[in-house]
């Protein structure tokens, strides 16, 4: 899994590519935490190029949402892949996240 970061006036976008699984999800968790230290107004996770996500990855998405809420930052998932959407649907969590088009 690879994570690129872009920063703009609105906040930070983490561009995730590759599988988000038990091995790689801690890296995404650390990156979200690191971003929050800079107190951005918003964190966006772009998940268009994520072909696979497991329950540990979904757990990180939830943690990110909780941390942002606690810090007063907006949080959204952007351009999620079909497979990510399918897993969020399966976990009945799709409606819990703010999901944006690209």
């Amino acid at each position: 899994m690879k994570i690129d970061k872009t920063e703009g006036p609105e906040g930070v976008t983490l561009i995730v590519s590759g599988d988000v699984d038990m091995e790689s999800s801690p890296k995404l968790r650390d990156e979200i935490k690191k971003c929050l230290k800079a107190k951005p107004g918003k964190i966006r996770l772009r998940l268009h190029d994520v072909p696979y996500i497991d329950s540990s990855g979904v757990a990180v998405l939830i943690e990110g949402m909780r941390w942002c809420k606690k810090k007063g930052a907006d949080y959204s998932l952007v351009a999620i892949s079909d497979n990510v959407k399918a897993v969020l649907d399966l976990s009945k969590l799709y409606g819990v996240f703010t999901v944006e088009a690209d």
């Binding site: 329950s55 399966l90 976990s91």
Partner: protein, 151 residues
């Protein structure tokens, strides 16, 4: 290679396939890569993706709880049996007899990280059961069955 030829060469000639890897997160991708072509050959894309997820979640459980369930770290030993009307996935030496009751889906109304894997498995598979691992006293196999698919 045509779809049918691929199915013929991989699935029909070897109805039972197995993989045995260290119980480590780095090997989960290997397990997914092992089962995916077989599911792709038999089921449509959406179901195949779900089945890969179910197998991955079951194997993740071994990695996560390996320190208590195995001594030392242990291995993921998986058998895939391609039956006429169903696919059967057996994960050997999955857990101890006394740990079966601890493995159950949680309430999804409570939005929190963790505990989703068991829900995924139960939701995706047609049958999930634990059976005694005859070769290992006190140990259980996880047997998951998905019916249907073209063969």
């Amino acid at each position: 290679m045509s779809h049918g030829a691929r199915r013929g060469s991989i699935l029909l000639s070897k109805p039972t396939l197995s993989i045995d890897v260290p119980a480590s997160a780095g090997y989960l991708k290997c397990v997914r890569g092992f089962v995916k072509p077989l599911f792709d050959a038999r089921f449509d894309e959406e179901i195949a993706h779900r089945l890969v997820l179910a197998v991955d979640e079951a194997c993740s459980n071994i990695v996560k709880h390996g320190q208590t369930w195995f001594s030392p770290r242990g291995r993921i030993a998986l058998e895939l049996i391609d039956r006429k009307k169903a696919v059967e996935i057996r994960i050997l030496n999955f857990c101890g007899e006394n740990e079966v009751d601890k493995i159950k889906p949680r309430d999804l109304e409570d939005i929190k990280p963790g505990g989703l894997g068991t829900h995924f498995i139960a939701e995706i598979m047609d049958s999930v059961e634990f059976v005694p691992d005859k070769t290992r006293e006190g140990r259980m196999q996880l047997v998951m069955i998905k019916e249907g698919g073209s063969k």
